[in-house]
């Protein structure tokens, strides 16, 4: 099964164009959607998850037209929105059971087994009888993951799933996803480059509603390999460098600015070549797109 998105456009009523001619093909396995806040990741994911209308374009999931055959999509969908809440006065096991009913797990014994397994899997077993109102952010997030896995979905859409998870939980969750992702389409949006690098076979970078890059993370890294240069400078110099080089990232190490520049040759003597990272790819694209826009 393949998810084919073609020429998808969406403009909100306030005039913001969330999706601009998005075309993507997503295969089984983990697909990472990378982009800064407000890039249109969530809009795209909601549209795939049948929760939002598109102005034009098409989304095809196997034989299913996602934009019109919503019911069919929902049967095989597992969705974790970026932000969500819960009924505060209900405990986890009850709500998960409730959601399983809605997913169509009609057999009571099967449902019970499933719900318990999911709670164990997401490490919520001890807190299963606690009202969801008392859950911490991370616990709530894990509950969200648990519900997205009900009924063995064929299409899993998880919007910023690792936000709010501590490193251990994050690892556990990523493992879980990769376990499932073998014969499922898993779309994972994030602004954490690490997530994509560790997990995804395929990825896209979007910003301002546009797809800036699509392909595998390894190809992406290969494309910039050997072109990334860094230099440690002083703060007063920063402005100078900004004007004379295309800086893809600035960060502080030990309180001193370290700038990265994308260049085929060594920009000047102070720059050291470093091994390319996905993050460099990301910044390159985001930076590049901004640049283009400014030029336009």
């Amino acid at each position: 099964m393949q998810l084919v998105i073609q020429n998808l456009n969406k403009t909100y009523s306030n005039g913001v164009q969330a999706l601009k001619d998005v075309t993507l093909t997503i295969n089984q396995g983990m697909f990472g959607l990378l982009g800064p806040n407000g890039a249109g990741k969530s809009s795209l994911m909601r549209t795939i998850a049948t929760l939002q209308e598109a102005d034009s374009g098409s989304i095809q999931l196997g034989d299913i037209n996602v934009l019109t055959q919503k019911e069919e999509v929902r049967k095989i969908l597992g969705y974790l929105p970026q932000e969500f809440g819960v009924y505060p006065k209900i405990d986890a096991i009850t709500l998960l059971d409730h959601l399983a009913v809605l997913k169509g797990i009609s057999n009571k014994a099967e449902r019970k087994g499933l719900v318990e397994a999911l709670l164990q899997k997401t490490n919520l077993w001890q807190a299963r009888n606690k009202n969801l109102g008392g859950y911490s952010g991370g616990m709530k997030q894990r509950f969200g993951i648990a519900q997205a896995l009900i009924a063995n979905p064929k299409l899993i859409i998880v919007d910023e799933p690792t936000a709010g998870l501590d490193p251990a939980e994050r690892n556990r969750f990523l493992n879980l996803l990769s376990e499932i992702g073998e014969n499922t389409i898993v779309i994972l949006s994030t602004h954490i480059v690490e997530d994509v690098k560790e997990l995804c076979t395929d990825m896209a970078i979007i910003n301002k509603g546009q797809v800036l890059y699509k392909g595998s993370p390894l190809d992406a890294i290969a494309a910039v390999e050997g072109k990334v240069w860094t230099k440690t400078i002083t703060k007063p110099e920063l402005e100078n460098y900004r004007n004379s080089f295309s800086i893809i990232s600035e960060r502080l190490i030990g309180g001193r600015p370290v700038i990265s520049v994308l260049s085929d040759q060594q920009p000047d003597g102070g720059f050291d070549r470093v091994p390319a990272d996905l993050e460099d790819v990301y910044f390159t694209h985001i930076f590049g797109s901004t640049k283009t826009e400014v030029a336009a």
Partner: protein, 1195 residues
């Protein structure tokens, strides 16, 4: 710091559009209320001017009540918004003092609230200066009229309610709690209304009502129209106390709020957090395998999802604290109301199931609140907790979410109703009543109430879905319900426009649900189709996912238009339209429909066209001989027979004016005379025909008029407009359905303001007392004097048909019951026809047959009625004259009307007033069953033996004399305390009655059909009269009056004739009484200022009483002028009897000739209290200050 916060609050609020909108809405409401008929709130009636202080005051108080809603919106969020916008953590960490923070916010918001509230006086002020207003209905402009009630009522109310909402918002940090507070206030307000009904609890109600409305009403209740036009709203008495009380409560709340409010962002829960049991078994998430579970998406899955969700939402609502608060508040209110169950004169009635159902209907308001609140809450449930995206992505059909919410709510209603039934039964049990009629509970609550809830819930859901904004949704829903209630004033009177119309009517034990079931069912089909249609539309437009814009929702919604949904939409449309047509066909085609304007126009045209015939000489009916066949199961009857008409004038009559009944069910099959005649003129729209006889009727000559009329019930009309006289069981109608002679002046428009608006001249309510034309006609009209009466009635098998007269023969023919009645002496031309399934109780009193016909099971008070008849017959025949018939019958009729009425030897008595009354303690409760019986029996003398002229003062003869007669029977049967209590009610009702007089208050001798005078005032006057003159003297006057006028044809007596007899028994020293009591409106202000006693010796006590006495004379609008006093007034001293109760140890009339008086009285036992006119024999607007407890003092 306070100043900064205060000013910031003002600045912040200044920028909020909502405040301007609130102002504009309230302003417009007030403006429209006084300048147009579109909005009505209170308003002036009769002679009270439209901008009289009390009228404006009332309107400001009512609108101030609505201001509470705005108060909750403005004051509730003053602190709450910091929590809702999550700014509290930032704010509370700044060095603001709690006191400054709270007070700054409170006073800042309150100032804004008061500025909004100023829209009320400003709106009314501008409205009263509006150029279209009629100057002669306005008083000169006075600023005080607008701003005084604002300061007295609105400002303290805003302070107090503001404090409540402010504190509940600040302490609970939840907006729903604020709304719940509002509902609690409402409960307190409504709760006091049931208290107010009982005159003995009015003071408590006046204090307890937090809005001051009750205090306002209590203080001004006896204001006469004249006073209403002149007095400003005072700030004294109960108004002052009430205001002080609630401002005090407001301050208290602010103090509590100050101490309870905490700057901590996270609060300690009041309840201990349950320790979570730690699972001993350690689970390794990595090792868990997720089992495979079969996913189903079939129809049966969806059904089970629906069931699960329904139960889920049901439980969710039941867990809501505000919901429980509303329910508990509602039930509390029911229990409070159950204390004064169906009281009349302070006497309760049996808690029959329909009485309890009436009580339970008080919960409907709470049902409405629940339905509006929780449809909104449930529609927004997932979105408000932000779970919507997860739920919306679930593989469920689109309708399931909405419909399960509806079903969940429906289940809530069903359970609540079961709870209400249980409450009802508990109330019944607490009264020792065990006749539980579950079928009636279920039959009413699970049909009418559930239907009403379904309609409002689905409509409200539709609104919430379409508006797609939670708070706007609530506003639109409430606005819609208010708008709907104004539909009829905007000309949309037809029940097809009145959302939720078609009630199940009044339940009667006799007629059960009667004919109301059919229209009820059809209207429910019609409205159900309407709301289900709306629901289907809501399913299409309901937001699923993150799209809010209507165009996008339509884009998504189009995909949901499955075949079944389209079928549903088409079906409901078809059902809605076709049931609408069917209803219209029944109400407007098969039956006649007219709206208010059309009816008024008919009245006006009738008067304009035919008034000229009012005094055209006509013959009089001397014989009535009819055959009346009643078909209760079809709700039809026919009446066929003849009248004999006799020319009693001294001129020949050739034109006969026949007025047929204008009811649409009634048809005249034929009408003919026994000599040659032609139709001279016919007025079809008024059913009025002038026949011309070829040969006139000579003076003293008679003709015979034969006719047949048929009353046919076709189809149905809306329950409230339906005929409740001809029914399945308990038919009761009188001869108004039959042709009558000449112009009917009772059909004219009576209100002078209306008449002026329609260009009609002012109209006197009755003819002058000496009008010779009036003296020629009796109170029953000018169709007849006395008539010979004979009637054969038939009815369905199993029912008994009853008419005046004696039963000659009874037989069964063609499976119908026949009864032949004949009266052996001429009687008045006013007769009832009754048919119902009856049980009968028969007794005898001196050869007179007494019968009570009652509905099976209603035998509670039959013996009291029997006793009432016997005692009344005994007293009246001894003191006035012998009873003229050999029989006296009482028959029960259904509670569609609550009265008893006296026909010749026949007294129909409503199911609702006497048959279920419950007299618990004959020494304490007023036995009104006995009393009403005695009153109606008295009419056999006053009205039937002596018919009076139809002129001013006529009711003093029939009604007032019956009041006196019954009161005397009561006096000999019960304790003086009962009589005193009864008179207290009469005084209250008289004073209230004159306060709302629309035209002019008349002295008793010229009463113009004013019930508060000829019943209530007359009780007081005649009771005092017999106290001054002696019972025997008054009886002697009545006896002589009766002797002179008994069984006489025209001319008829007037009140002057009775007064002539009363004068004869009045000593000269008391002659002033006649003037005070009958010829003028005279009131007293008697008051005990102070009272003391000292012990003079053994068993000798001296009482010193300082009392003021004032005598006032009122004009027809109630403006009083003091007049000099020279009256005999009771001075009384109370001691204690053996049982420890107050008892009079001294009571004597003293001559009082000045305002300030001191009395010294010696009594033989220890005195407790003393007073002037302690038994309230004189009419006094402040009767509570007549007596005072005695202080011991050495003089």
């Amino acid at each position: 710091m306070f100043k900064n916060i205060f000013l910031f609050e003002l600045k912040y609020r200044k920028a909020r559009a909502a405040n301007y909108i609130y102002f504009a809405i309230m302003f417009l409401f007030c403006l429209l209320a006084v300048t147009t008929d579109v909005v009505r709130i209170g308003g002036a009636v009769g002679q009270v001017k439209e901008n009289a202080p009390i009228v404006i005051g009332q309107m400001i108080v009512i609108m101030g009540f609505f201001m509470t809603l705005i108060s909750s919106a403005i004051m509730g969020v003053a602190v709450l918004r910091d929590f809702e916008h999550n700014t509290e953590a930032i704010l509370f960490s700044t060095p603001i003092k709690k006191f400054h923070y709270l007070m700054g916010r409170y006073w800042g918001s309150l100032v804004i609230l008061l500025l909004v509230a100023a829209s009320l006086p400003i709106g009314f002020m501008i409205g009263d200066l509006w150029p279209t207003r009629e100057a002669d209905r306005l008083l000169p402009f006075n600023l005080l009229t607008y701003w005084q009630p604002f300061c007295i009522f609105v400002v303290p109310n805003m302070f107090f309610t503001g404090a409540i909402f402010f504190a509940s918002g600040a302490l609970s940090r939840k907006s729903i709690v604020i709304y719940t507070q509002g509902i609690m206030l409402l409960v307190l307000y409504i709760g006091t209304s049931s208290l107010l009904r009982d005159i003995e609890q009015k003071e408590i109600a006046a204090m307890l009502d937090p809005f001051g409305v009750r205090a306002f009403n209590f203080y001004t209740q006896y204001w006469t129209p004249g006073e209403r036009n002149t007095l400003q709203i005072p700030f004294e008495g109960y108004i002052l106390y009430n205001r002080l009380l609630w401002v005090g409560v407001g301050i208290l709340i602010l103090v509590i709020n100050h101490f309870a409010f905490s700057f901590n962002v996270v609060r300690n829960s009041i309840f201990k957090i349950k320790a979570v049991k730690d699972e001993l078994i350690k689970i390794k998430p990595e090792e868990t395998r997720i089992p495979l579970a079969q996913q189903y998406t079939s129809f049966t899955t969806h059904i089970s999802q629906l069931v699960k969700l329904t139960v889920f939402y049901f439980k969710m609502v039941f867990k809501e604290i505000p919901f429980l608060a509303i329910v508990i508040a509602g039930i509390l209110l029911l229990l409070v109301n159950a204390i004064n169950l169906n009281e009349l004169f302070g006497t309760k009635s049996y808690p029959t199931t329909y009485t309890i159902l009436g009580l339970l209907s008080g919960f409907n308001l709470f049902f409405l609140i629940i339905s509006v609140l929780y449809t909104g809450e449930l529609v927004w449930k997932e979105r408000s907790v932000n779970l919507n995206l997860i739920i919306d992505a679930m593989p469920m059909p689109d309708f399931i979410s909405l419909i399960s919410k509806f079903f969940g709510l429906l289940l809530v209603y069903i359970v609540l109703i079961a709870g209400l039934i249980l409450t009802g039964m508990v109330i019944q049990m607490s009264y020792g009543y065990y006749k539980f009629e579950l079928s009636i509970y279920v039959g009413t609550l699970y049909t009418e109430t559930v239907a009403f809830l379904v309609l409002y819930s689905l409509l409200s859901m539709f609104i919430h879905v379409m508006v797609n904004n939670k708070f706007l949704g609530f506003a639109v829903a409430v606005a819609f319900f208010i708008l709907v209630s104004f539909f009829s004033q905007m000309g949309l009177e037809h029940p097809l426009f009145q959302f939720g119309s078609g009630s199940l009517g009044t339940y009667s034990d006799m007629n059960v649900y009667g004919h109301f079931v059919t229209p009820f069912s059809w209207f429910q089909v019609y409205w159900m189709a309407f709301v289900v249609f709306l629901f289907a539309i809501a399913v299409v437009f309901s937001s699923r996912g993150s799209e809010d814009v209507i165009a996008m929702r339509w884009k998504a919604g189009k995909l949901r238009l499955s075949r079944s949904l389209i079928t549903l939409i088409v079906c409901t449309t078809v059902i809605f339209v076709s049931s609408g047509f069917y209803i219209f066909y029944n109400t407007n085609i098969v039956n006649e429909y007219s709206n208010k304007d059309q009816r008024e126009k008919l009245q006006i045209d009738y008067e304009k066209t035919l008034k000229k015939f009012e005094f055209t000489p006509q013959p009089r009916i001397t014989d009535v001989n009819l055959k009346v066949d009643i078909y209760p199961s079809k709700r039809d009857f026919t009446a066929e027979g003849h009248y004999i008409l006799k020319n009693k004038t001294d001129k020949p009559i050739s034109d006969l004016h026949i007025q047929e009944n204008v009811g649409s069910e009634l048809k005249t099959d034929y009408l003919k005379f026994d000599r040659k005649y032609g139709v001279k003129e016919k007025f079809d729209e008024f059913d009025y025909t002038i026949y011309k006889l070829e040969e006139p009727i000579q003076p003293g000559d008679s003709i015979r008029m034969d006719f047949k009329v048929s009353f046919v019930t076709n189809g149905f009309v809306e329950g409230g407009r339906s005929n409740t006289s001809v029914i399945f069981n308990g038919t009761f109608f009188n001869n108004q359905y039959f042709p009558s002679l000449g112009y009917f002046s009772g059909g004219e428009m009576s209100d002078d303001n209306d008449r002026k608006e329609k260009g009609l001249p002012k109209k006197e309510r009755m003819m002058e007392r000496n009008d010779p034309r009036g003296l020629q006609q009796s109170l029953f009209g000018d169709d007849a004097d006395h008539v010979n009466f004979e009637m054969v009635m038939s009815t369905d098998k199993g029912q008994t048909a009853i008419a005046p007269g004696y039963l000659q023969k009874q037989w069964v023919e063609n499976n119908r019951e026949y009864f032949h009645y004949k009266m052996d002496a001429p009687m008045c031309n006013f007769y009832s026809m009754i048919s119902a399934r009856y049980e009968v109780k028969r007794e005898k009193w001196n050869d007179i047959n007494l019968e009570v016909y009652f509905h099976k099971g209603h035998n509670y008070n039959v013996d009291k009625m029997m006793l009432g008849m016997k005692d009344a017959l005994t007293y009246y025949s001894k003191n006035f004259s012998p009873y003229q018939y050999r029989q006296l019958r009482i028959m029960e009729f259904p509670r569609y009307a609550n009265f008893a009425q006296s026909f010749a030897n026949t007294i129909p008595f409503s199911e609702g007033i006497g048959f279920i009354a419950k007299i618990n303690d004959p020494d304490k409760d007023i036995d009104y069953v006995y009393y009403v019986t005695a009153h109606e029996v008295a009419h056999q003398w006053w009205g039937h033996q002596v018919m009076e002229a139809g002129v001013k003062g006529n009711a003093m003869l029939s009604e007032s004399m019956s009041q006196y007669s019954a009161l005397m029977v009561l006096k000999h049967k019960f304790t003086p305390e009962i009589i005193e209590r009864y008179l207290k009610y009469e005084l209250d009702r008289y004073l209230l009655g004159r306060a709302s007089e629309r035209k002019k208050e008349q002295p008793l001798e010229l009463v113009e059909g004013q019930g508060y005078i000829h019943y209530q005032k007359a009780s007081l006057i005649f009771y005092a009269l017999q106290d001054y003159l002696g019972e025997d003297s008054v009886n002697a006057a009545f006896r002589r009056f009766n002797n002179t006028w008994r069984f006489k044809d025209a001319p008829y007596p007037t009140s002057a004739d009775l007064l002539k007899e009363i004068r004869k028994v009045t000593p000269d020293s008391l002659n002033y009484l006649i003037k005070d009591m009958f010829e003028t409106i005279t009131l007293f202000e008697n008051k005990t200022d102070s009272a003391f006693y000292r012990e003079k010796g053994k068993n000798e006590f001296e009482v010193k009483l300082y009392a003021t006495a004032e005598k006032l004379r009122a004009d027809s609008i109630g403006i009083e002028t003091p007049i000099s006093i020279n009256d005999w007034i009771d001075i009384g001293v109370y001691g204690k009897d053996k049982a420890g109760k107050d008892s009079l140890i001294y009571l004597k009339k003293h001559k009082i000739a000045k305002k300030e008086n001191a009395f010294t009285i010696t009594v033989k036992s220890k005195p407790r209290k003393a007073g002037i006119d302690p038994l309230h024999k004189l009419i006094d607007r402040h009767s509570n200050d007549n007596s005072k407890g005695l202080l011991k003092r050495d003089l």
